[in-house]
């Protein structure tokens, strides 16, 4: 681990030149915003689909759903799924291939998460260096990547419970897989609320995701 860091820092310094170092490279920025669009379309159309046969004692207000009716929502959902899946696969491939995941998201330690969570809640967490994630960020980012994988796989298992019946079985059968898919959506929405709030509280992190530095 430690051998990686100096080489990395110098390469970043070079690419950054005089106008400040690149915090979010261009490929991350494009994948991030494509994912944001795909996710929002999937969630809003998914709510409309949910309303056709609710799992719980509530439905989503029509004003926050996409598609107008079940058929329209399904068209949106099964179109945006390609964007989400292809974009997500590119992200995972590049994340592993470039070593970004290992560099940015590891290591995570229980003690580190507790310390950084305490610091964050008492307003003492530093945001001076945006190129390094704190332990809570690392945990949430790893978590949301895993949830992203679960929501795609559980979605596929609901879409193809005969052809992919082994996958449906992994998610506890067709009916249970719907709850898994819903829970994954709820986790992503929860993440989004925290993620967007923090991006607004630390605007330079939002700027870095738009212009890179």
């Amino acid at each position: 681990m430690s051998a990686v860091t100096p080489a990395l820092t110098s390469s970043r310094d070079r690419s950054g030149s005089s106008s400040g170092k690149i915090i979010q490279p261009a490929w991350i920025r494009s994948l991030h915003w494509i994912n944001a669009v795909a996710m929002i379309v999937m969630i809003m159309s998914g709510w409309q689909i949910y309303n056709a046969s609710p799992l719980f004692d509530f439905v989503f207000p029509a004003s926050i759903t996409l598609g107008g009716w079940l058929g329209g929502a399904l068209l949106w959902h099964f179109a945006a799924m390609w964007l989400l899946m292809v974009n997500g696969l590119i992200y995972l491939t590049l994340g592993f291939a470039t070593g970004r995941f290992r560099r940015k998201l590891l290591p995570i330690t229980a003690g580190g998460v507790v310390d950084d969570a305490k610091a964050a809640l008492t307003g003492r967490l530093s945001h001076a260096d945006l190129s390094t994630y704190n332990q809570v960020q690392k945990l949430l980012y790893v978590g949301i990547i895993l949830v992203g994988i679960v929501i795609v796989l559980s979605g596929l298992s609901i879409w193809k419970p005969v052809q992919l019946q082994w996958l449906t079985a992994i998610f506890g059968g067709y009916d249970f897989a719907r709850y898994v898919h819903f829970a994954a959506m709820a986790s992503i929405v929860g993440f989004l609320i925290v993620h967007v709030t923090l991006a607004v509280l630390v605007p330079k992190s939002l700027r870095a995701m738009i212009i890179g530095r």
Partner: protein
């Protein structure tokens, strides 16, 4: 700037006015399946262009749906069987579901009933119910999955459609079996699915003659497809290479809708 020109009344987007008006007409609203209410308007304003309003968005979604038909046909394995269940797993009561209420369901007279067979088949004779009942039957207990998301396990008994297609000398290289129902409902089934061993001309539910609620006198049971691709009250089948559309397919449901 294009947005400014599209404003009929200052501050009011005429396209959104049309959307609002169309929402007052139930049938039209359903057909205009892109209409999504305020959220779409908000998205339009955010991006500054009519990403989701124009008919081009509708066209794009329809193209992707056709692409999804092709992908699903590719994924479809003719030898993969839908999971089967024990009698104890059967959902009771099994739900009635249609775009009309149960008391509006067709009442077909079994005496007068004729199953019409047409298109690319050698023997175009019509079949009485007695003749159909004499065909060899098999039983399946499988999961019915509705496009709405819910599912229910039922017991269906009848003749494998592929045996019937062979019997009438159907051209099984044709693309579709197109079914018509007593109330006018229609649905096209792709030939590979029609030939799937579990695709069935169903005459019985839970070992009893198919009740009116479940499609008397004949339902096409296809456990590899969503419920709306399992037509009830079936009165005719045409073997054809032409895509003839269907009741829900024409309104925007994905045509393959395989499970």
């Amino acid at each position: 700037m294009g947005r400014i020109r599209s404003l009929l009344i200052p501050g009011v987007d005429k396209k959104m006015l049309v959307k609002d008006a169309s929402r007052l007409m139930p049938d039209l609203t359903r057909r205009r399946f892109i209409t999504g209410g305020a959220s779409l308007g908000a998205l339009t304003m955010l991006t500054g262009c009519d990403v989701v309003d124009s008919s081009s968005a509708e066209d794009l979604l329809k193209h992707v749906s056709k692409f999804n038909d092709a992908v699903q046909a590719l994924i479809f394995n003719p030898n993969t069987l839908a999971p089967t269940f024990p009698e104890s797993a059967i959902t009771k009561p099994f739900p009635f579901n249609a775009y009309y209420s149960e008391d509006e369901a067709p009442e077909v007279d079994g005496e007068d009933y004729r199953f019409e067979v047409s298109g690319l088949v050698q023997n175009k004779k019509s079949w009485t119910l007695d003749e159909l009942y004499k065909l060899p039957q098999v039983k399946q207990i499988t999961r019915h999955i509705c496009v709405e998301g819910w599912s229910a396990i039922g017991s269906w008994t009848g003749t494998p459609l592929r045996d019937f297609l062979k019997l009438v000398g159907a051209d099984t290289t044709a693309k579709y079996c197109w079914f018509r129902c007593a109330e006018g409902y229609t649905s096209p089934i792709d030939m590979p699915t029609a030939l799937h061993p579990q695709t069935q001309m169903t005459f019985k539910f839970a070992d009893e003659i198919l009740p009116r609620a479940y499609g008397y006198p004949m339902k096409i049971r296809i456990p590899t497809k969503l419920g709306f691709k399992n037509p009830k009250y079936v009165v005719s089948m045409e073997v054809t290479n032409d895509y003839k559309g269907g009741y829900w397919e024409d309104q925007g449901y994905n045509s393959f809708s395989g499970s």
